[in-house]
């Protein structure tokens, strides 16, 4: 199975509102910490290393456009 990048949620607006709301009144530092925990929680739920690697690769490429060698070589 591949990472699903097609819409896979019924109500994106409700999700996004809940996401932003979950950070309400946190400092930026706390938000970073919370985001890290969120990634770990969701990663465990997804469970597949292949899917997670694909997600990491896509997020990284979208952020820096390159620098994938380290991640790719482990595949």
């Amino acid at each position: 199975m591949l990472l699903n990048i097609e819409p896979n949620m019924k109500d994106f607006d409700a999700f996004y509102e809940a996401l932003i709301e979950s950070h309400r009144e946190l400092t930026t530092e706390q938000s970073h910490e919370m985001n890290a925990k969120l990634v770990l929680l969701l990663a465990n739920h997804i469970g597949s290393i292949d899917i997670l690697r694909d997600a990491m690769r896509r997020a990284r490429v979208d952020t820096v456009g390159a620098g994938l060698t380290a991640l790719e070589s482990e595949n």
Binding site: E6, P7, F12, D13, Y16, T28
Partner: protein, 527 residues
Amino acid sequence: MNYQTQEFGYRRSGDQDAQTPVHHAAVIVGAGPVGLALAIDLAQRGQRVLVLDDDFRLSTGSRAICFAKRTLEIFDTLGIGDRAVEKGVSWNLGKVFHRNELLYQFNLLPEPAHKRPAFINLQQYYVEGFLNERARELPNIELRWKNRVANIENGASGVTLTIETPDGEYHIIADYCVACDGSRSPIRKLIGEESKGQTFKDRFLIADVKMSAPFPTERWFWFDPPFHPNQSVLLHKQPDDVWRIDFQLGWDVDPEEEKKPERVIPRVKALLGQDTEFSLEWVSVYTFACSRMRTFRFGRLLFAGDSAHGVSPFGARGANSGIQDANNLGWKLDAVLRGAAGDTLIDSYCEEREFAADENIMNSTRSTDFITPKSEVSRLFRDAALSLAKDHPFARRIVNSGRLSLPSAYLDSSLNTMDEDAFEGGVKPGAPALDAPIGRGDVNTWFVSELPSDFATTTLTATQMIECRHANGDIYASYRASPEWIARYNAKPGTTYLFRPDHHVAARWRAYDVKKINKAILRAQGH
């Protein structure tokens, strides 16, 4: 006709010479789009309506410009639909850009075979001008300009209004009074109520420019464009070669400074190119709040439109929801004034339109939170979604440049009769009628335009005809069903829909049953 310069003279009314306050059944305060729409609806139902306005002019500046499909269908019932659509710029397509790249586009009316487009753009003064001309065709509407409500006494048997005019004060008594007097509603202040909610710390510049430009008639929205970095911009076409450009400015700007042509022109040129010729039609800097009154009813005093609820402009949910308030209230007020329904029917106006206001506020708040992130992390997520959107289809669904006005479906309304038969889709009780082509003899027409202004049922026959009956069971018309109509209503032979006077579905069954219909009509009248 230049509706912006049209002036209406003050005329002394006989009420001002009366010894005791003259009695009126329905008084509307505010001759804006909502007040005029309600006045026309009531007058067409045979009510005498008095409209009071403290000014002597229609809207100055283009203000609300996007009128949604459902609103156009309501305009059809008020007799101005064709004029509005002829003058307006029809559009269905929106495009969203990030920096200078097109992220995605959306079609607001992806299926053909509807009479009206998803939206028209039309300056508010045209809408008010058309409504005002229509109102003046109706002899049972009286418009009194320069009549300012100075005091209000909200009694159990009537509302007493103290009205100030250029030649003094007078009093009248209304069975029902509806305040359609806008977001700063003086009536709301007079009774010590507020519209409560969230104010957003952001300012927006509206520049309406006149030019002949090659842009298509689409809604274009930019996040962080090179010509206006770190902010958003919206471009929209209006009639008469006028283009609406909305620039996000941020909170820390001086609104008076930003309105000056020497500040506005360079911003417009940055978007259009240095050599484009244009003139400024209207400039305004605004902030907004998403708010509403705790209830829209205080005994015999009701609130509709911006006086009752406010939203951000993203989504075009202000004027559209106000017109829908009027559409919801008109038939109910008429039924109560005629004695066909009890006063409690008006409570269902609150139930249904407060729900609609909450839905509009929710959508408008979400859009605003996306366009104007309130924290660093909120901006981080926003920018991440924008960045991912180009290559990741799911992220486009997170990007929110405004969720454009759709009519509310009153699915939980106490006026509905719940489905007892099985439907796979179709139009649920509480939802507004869906349009589709139908035929009458050789003539092609449209379903929603043919619905009457009272309760009616439609039943599909074995020969694919739509048999339409008044509440008393008399058949008044028979139309050829189109495949689109049959699909949209999930109709089979026998399928019967009961429509309310405002064209929302009250009930539906798989067979025509007089007893069930009569019971559902009583329920929809609040009995």
